[in-house]
Amino acid sequence: MHSIKTRFSDVPIALVIFRENLEDLYIGKEKRTPRGAEATAVFTRAGCKRIAEFAFDFARCHGRKKVTIVHKANILKETHGLFLKVARQVAKRYPDVPCEDLIADNFMMQLVRNPQNFSFVLTPNFLGDLISDLAAGLVGGLGIAPGANIGKKYAVFEAVHGTADDIAGKGVANPLSLLLSACMMLNYIGESSADKRVREAIARTLTDGIYTGDVRREGSVGTDAFAQAIIARLKK
């Protein structure tokens, strides 16, 4: 968002992270062993294929910019190896969408150095968790980064930040993460013009120098005043 100052304010960053969200290390299969502890990561062909197809379909519908497959298949040969193999197979069916694959550590370094080189990132669950926070940091923090979980029949739109108990109840939280998630919901349900109007109102609000304390402390306003300012700038 151009009016939010970050270390990368002069760099045009537009990133969409496609993160598999049902498998990998996050299935909750952990156990203690006599020597310590173990966790199980599950990768299914169907799960890998589903997120890869979604990412390439999305890329095709949104400007055919490059899809970067991010993995750690050099070490995790079976699990991430499968993810990479399936993603490459899917990529072959989308010859019109440019595609590359990068090992996660190398990708992370490049993302920080040249974030403008990336658009669509396709990655497994655990890596996606790390990458999405890093990406949020590039554009101004978790307070403004939206998230969506898209299933076959249901979709959950959520703020990516935590409960922030230290500022809870003080009326100073930035609602943008949830509001931008809600914008994605407007789009999802077919109200794309409302989505566009809200986004424009947000941009105007920020350009007019109205922001919450996480953006900049001096001159900041509370959650309600910020919301009212956005409402006042909504074009009917």
Binding site: M1, A14, V16, I17, N21, L22, Y26, G28, K29, E30, R50, E53, F54, D57, F58, R60, C61, H62, S132, A135, V139, I144, N149, G151, K152, K153, Y154, V156, F157, E158, A159, T163, A168, A173, N174, P175, S177, L178, L179, L180, S181, M184, M185, L186, N187, Y188, I189, G190, S192, A194, D195, K196, R197, V198, A201, F226, A227, I230, I231, L234
Partner: protein, 125 residues
Amino acid sequence: MRASKKKVYSVTVLPGDGIGPEVMAATQKILEATGVRFHWDVFPFGKATALTKGRGSKKDRVRIPKEIVDSIKKNGAHLKARQQRRSAKGIEALMSSSETPLSCTRMSALFKACTASKRVSLMCP
């Protein structure tokens, strides 16, 4: 505007814990100001309302109450702020359940049809 003829969208709302209720209230207010009509199905869900939380790896999760799952099934769209959670297993199961499989291609086609701005970016430049 012929408000009476406009579609009303039913959305499941989980304001959650911490700053969740504050940012949810602000977001709902702004959404309503767009003129799109919503029916909010609000459920308390978070630390205070966790149903089961047992010991051991399998039970050490917050279960999602059945009425929330039913509401999501009914509404399809679901707006969630934060709850202090272990793992939202119910929603995951719900999302992966495929009674009437809608292929990813069709899902994305839906996006395409819905997207006038041509870009739904997770991170805004």
